[in-house]
Amino acid sequence: MASDEVVPTARLRAGDLALFLLLLGLLALGGSLLHAALDRAGAHQRSEPARQLAQELGLTGLALFTEARYTRHPELSDQHAPFQNHPLTLEHFPSGTWVPPPRHLHD
């Protein structure tokens, strides 16, 4: 009799969830790497004004750490004076590293 036969049903196995999550993770990371590759051309275009300006003005430093002269242009700071003229002076001494920023910066 046909009614005695076991009809196979599509049932989600416990391991399928793990495989699905792994696949999702792979897609997330793969998608990120793909985005990195595709964005390369756009990023090149985005940074063109900065490159052009650096070339025109003969700039030698990045405007990332503008708080003091030796951090604004660490590449051109005096090598010989160990304090106030050394690149990374703030971080050079352990106490300098942990001193909080001046109050006006976070008020």
Partner: protein, 380 residues
């Protein structure tokens, strides 16, 4: 083919069993996954951010002068006279020597340092200025507005803003204040024929080192700074800053390492009994190891994949809001910029070997020990 299929089916059953076992300890495993993923996220964020900044610095400084020559007086950077430039022009291998005029001005209004610079083309009319985007933002100034500074002689000098540099160039121009040569000299009292430093152009890259040696020989009071050294300085700056982020994190990393080691290597009584029962009902050592490998592999791979992907979007999608304050330091003027995604296989492999492999190793060793022991002994 059949053998391959049966191996696959066997592994899927093992995976089913592993996931079912993990579900029984759901809270513990989910917690571990979250902490593990968070650690990977933080490590990857620092790695990606630092790598991208180094890449950006390399791209932007590729066109910087091959050598910058400073004059040193009593161990300090001093103004360099035009006569030094003329001496250097006679050295073979140097195509051009350009006197640069630049300096800093502290503006008490916004309590920020500006970088004042005279463009080499000197196409700025006296009395006017072109300013960087972060400076314009900090002062709330735009084209046509007037900014005034007190000069070295105490006299107030006004500059009408002729243009604001584009936002996209912020990484090199955030704090720039471009002025005409006469204005610069009048503001700082720099006499004619004196420069801040000299920029040398050397067409043949292989001659740079030799030229630097000749510069030192010809002008013993000078300090030549090579472009390679500038890039190395930035590498060191970014490495140091990333170390500063990782240092406070190291406590958390250590705590996680202990947690993971404890979880992975110290088998609980339940787990030991489970292994004993499995062995008693006929599981082979290889099966027990495979099951634990699935468990460790699932946890570490999921943490690695999701942690790394989240770090990518944190750094390159959102411009790393969690790391920016550390990189920013005390700067009032800070550029708004988007980093170019620069990830290489070495970074990913380093991250993989640092995060996934130790966990897998820590999982397998104790399980193997328990699995090769007599089931009766294990269950006691």
């Amino acid at each position: 083919m059949t053998e391959w299929r049966s191996t696959l089916a066997r592994q899927r059953y093992l995976l089913d069993f592993t996931v079912a076992a993990m579900k029984r300890r759901r809270a513990r495993n989910l917690g571990l996954l979250l902490v593990y993923g968070g650690m990977v996220f933080l490590l990857a964020s620092v790695l990606f951010y630092t790598g991208a900044l180094k890449h950006e610095a390399g791209l932007l400084l590729a066109e910087a002068p091959e050598i910058v020559v400073q004059r040193m007086v009593a161990g300090r950077h001093d103004l360099i006279p035009e006569t030094h430039a003329e001496t250097l022009r006679r050295i073979r291998g140097i195509r051009a020597v350009q006197g640069r005029l630049w300096g800093y001005h502290y503006d008490p209004v916004v309590r920020a340092n500006y970088t004042l610079l005279v463009p080499p083309s000197d196409d700025i009319a006296p009395g006017t200025t072109v300013i960087g985007p972060a400076l314009a933002r900090a002062r709330g100034a735009g084209i046509g507005d007037v900014l005034s500074f007190r000069g070295h002689d105490g006299a107030l000098r006004a500059f009408r803003i002729q243009a604001v540099l584009p936002q996209e160039s912020g990484l090199v121009s955030a704090d720039l204040f471009l002025v005409a040569e006469p204005d610069f000299r009048a503001l700082f009292g720099v006499p004619a024929g004196q420069y801040t430093d000299l920029a040398l152009r050397i067409p043949n890259a292989r001659e740079i080192q030799t030229v630097a040696e000749k510069v030192l020989e010809t002008l013993p009071d000078s300090r030549p700074i090579l472009r390679e050294e500038m890039l190395r300085t930035y590498d060191a700056v970014f490495d140091w800053r990333s170390a500063l982020v990782l240092l406070p994190l190291s406590g958390a990393l250590l705590a996680f390492a202990i947690l993971a080691w404890e979880k992975a290597s110290g088998l609980s009584a339940d787990e030991r009994r489970e292994i004993g029962i499995l062995k008693a009902v006929g599981w082979e050592t290889g099966d027990v190891l495979a099951m634990k490998l699935w468990e460790g592999g699932l946890l570490s791979l999921l943490a690695f994949l999701f942690g790394t992907a989240a770090a990518y979007w944190h750094v390159f999608g959102l411009s790393a809001p969690l790391l920016a304050p550390v990189m920013q330091g005390w700067s009032v003027l800070y550029p708004a910029f988007r980093l170019t995604p620069a990830i290489d296989a070495t970074q990913l492999l380093a991250l993989f070997f640092l995060t996934v492999l130790p966990y897998l190793a820590a999982t397998l060793v104790p399980v193997w020990r328990a699995a090769v022991t007599d089931p009766d002994e294990v269950m006691r």
